[in-house]
Amino acid sequence: MNDDDVIICRCEEVTKGDIRRAIRSGATTFKAVKKFTRAGMGLCQGRTCRRLILQILAQETGQTPGQLAPGSYRPPTRPVPLAALKGEES
């Protein structure tokens, strides 16, 4: 079955096919897939797709998801209004 059209990262609209192509052209870590495709870089910061991407990476590279570095989590980890980050009432 061809599931290349399945959307993996909804925030950035990245499909399974996009991710497979990135892996096959040398992006063999979570970090590299993210940089190639922008998967996981959108509004939810990979909350949904991180595990899916690791699964695809594992399949394509013949590893288990546990063997792969999961990538970094960057603060604030959930959307925070800039008005709040200013640390003032506004």
């Binding site: 940089k35 870089m41 509004l43 603060p75 209004p81 200013k86 003032e88």
Partner: protein, 400 residues
């Protein structure tokens, strides 16, 4: 066994550019990247190809030559680097900053940059989202933006097509010396004979040179950035502020400042990227190798940015990150041979200008390595320029 003509060390924007231009000239090139392409400074920066921020002189002249190469680069590389000739603004918040900006601008005009001063409502007509207190801005239609990662990937894949080999996950261990030459590099447990070696290793360059007894005055300087959720177009240009210029060229003035934002070297660098999100920077801090973001740094960046563009306060931040920029005392990169060596070169130390200067750096380094001559004089970028000033020996400081 015969090795490659040139081994390029470092797969950031500079290393991939050097690899590409060498391969374009027909050289047999091997690029060694210790982790992955664009994994350090080149993926933790903005995508400005901004000319207005360059010091009027050889720095701006070099940037103008680089901007010219960027125009045709997407076609040449056959890769979408998201190049946009959007124009740029350096926003002036205080009347006191006007005279210095006028002088800076006049010198830039003399070198051939199209830059003009827009006052008050003139600049708000161009960017209605600017706050009412903004005094004005210098504007250049020549400023542009790119996606830095796509530039790295674009150079790398085009170089591969021209026959270059790009190897990731292969750290440089040792340079083998034979007289005044590097005979081979040892990397990834393998000894690779090399015709020439060029270090495009940014902030990591000094640690590679120390074993050779060469000291390079290059230090990591942290820049923190904030990314927002995608938003409809709010601004149409890339933005810096006049204070950024001060933070860039006069860190000594900032270190003593009372104001928290000034001490952190916060100067606005803002763009709305191709994906609609805002990339907002930045601090300029000397904190060693610490790549973390700090609540204080982020707070000062956000305060500064929302003061200039109040509508930003409504947006959500989705990510913060920091990168280390290779700072040099005069704001210019090191481009040239390592004194005392016949075939060892450095292209590093671009601080926040690596993206803007990558194409010209790649092209000039290729010319230098393959022909011994360059179409743009590199005297001001000499690797030993600081050592020469200090003791008239004309030699880089070398420990026995």
């Amino acid at each position: 066994m015969k090795g490659p003509d040139v081994v390029v060390v470092g797969g950031g924007v500079i290393g991939t550019a050097v690899t590409y231009y060498l391969a374009k000239q027909g050289a047999d090139v091997l690029l060694l990247e210790r982790a992955e392409l664009g994994g350090e400074t080149s993926s933790a920066c903005d995508g400005f190809v901004i000319l207005q921020s360059k010091s009027p002189g050889v720095h701006l002249a070099l940037a103008l030559a680089s901007a010219e190469l960027y125009r045709g680069l997407a076609d040449e590389l056959d890769w979408d680097i998201e190049y946009r000739n959007c124009g740029g603004l350096i926003v002036i918040e205080r009347e006191e900053e006007l005279p210095a900006m006028r002088t800076f601008m006049a010198k830039q005009q003399a070198i051939g940059l199209d830059v003009r001063l827009l006052l008050g409502d003139e600049v708000r007509r161009l960017e209605p989202a600017l706050a009412p207190h903004i005094v004005g801005a210098t504007y250049s239609p020549q400023d542009s933006q790119v996606n830095p990662l796509q530039v790295v990937l674009g150079f790398a894949q085009a170089a591969r097509r021209l026959g270059a080999r790009v190897r990731q996950g292969v750290p440089l261990q040792t340079l083998r010396r034979a007289g005044a030459r590097v005979s081979a590099v040892v990397a990834g447990g393998e000894e690779i004979p090399a015709g020439a070696v060029v270090l495009c290793t940014g902030v990591f360059t000094p640690e590679l040179l120390t074993p050779l007894g060469v000291e390079l005055p290059l230090r990591p300087r942290r820049g923190q950035l904030v990314v927002t959720e995608p938003a409809p177009p709010l601004v149409h240009h890339i933005f810096l502020c006049a204070r950024y210029i001060a933070a860039k060229y006069h860190p000594e003035l900032l270190a003593a400042a009372e104001d928290e934002a000034l001490r952190l070297g916060v100067g606005l660098a803002l763009e709305q990227t191709g994906s609609g999100g805002f990339l907002i920077g930045s601090t300029r801090e000397f904190v060693g190798w610490d790549k973390r973001t700090t609540p204080l740094g982020i707070r000062e960046i956000v305060r500064h940015a929302t003061r200039i563009l109040p509508a930003l306060a409504q947006l959500n931040a989705i990510r913060t990150f920091a990168g280390l920029r290779p700072y040099t005392p005069d704001g210019l990169p090191f481009l040239g041979p390592v004194p005392g060596w016949e075939n060892l070169y450095i292209a590093a130390g671009h601080e926040g200008d690596g993206i803007a200067l990558a194409p010209i750096t790649g092209r000039l380094m290729a010319e230098l390595i393959l022909t011994g001559r360059t179409s743009f004089p590199l005297t001001d970028f000499a690797v030993d320029r600081f050592a020469r000033g200090k003791d008239q020996g004309g030699q880089l400081k070398v420990t026995p």
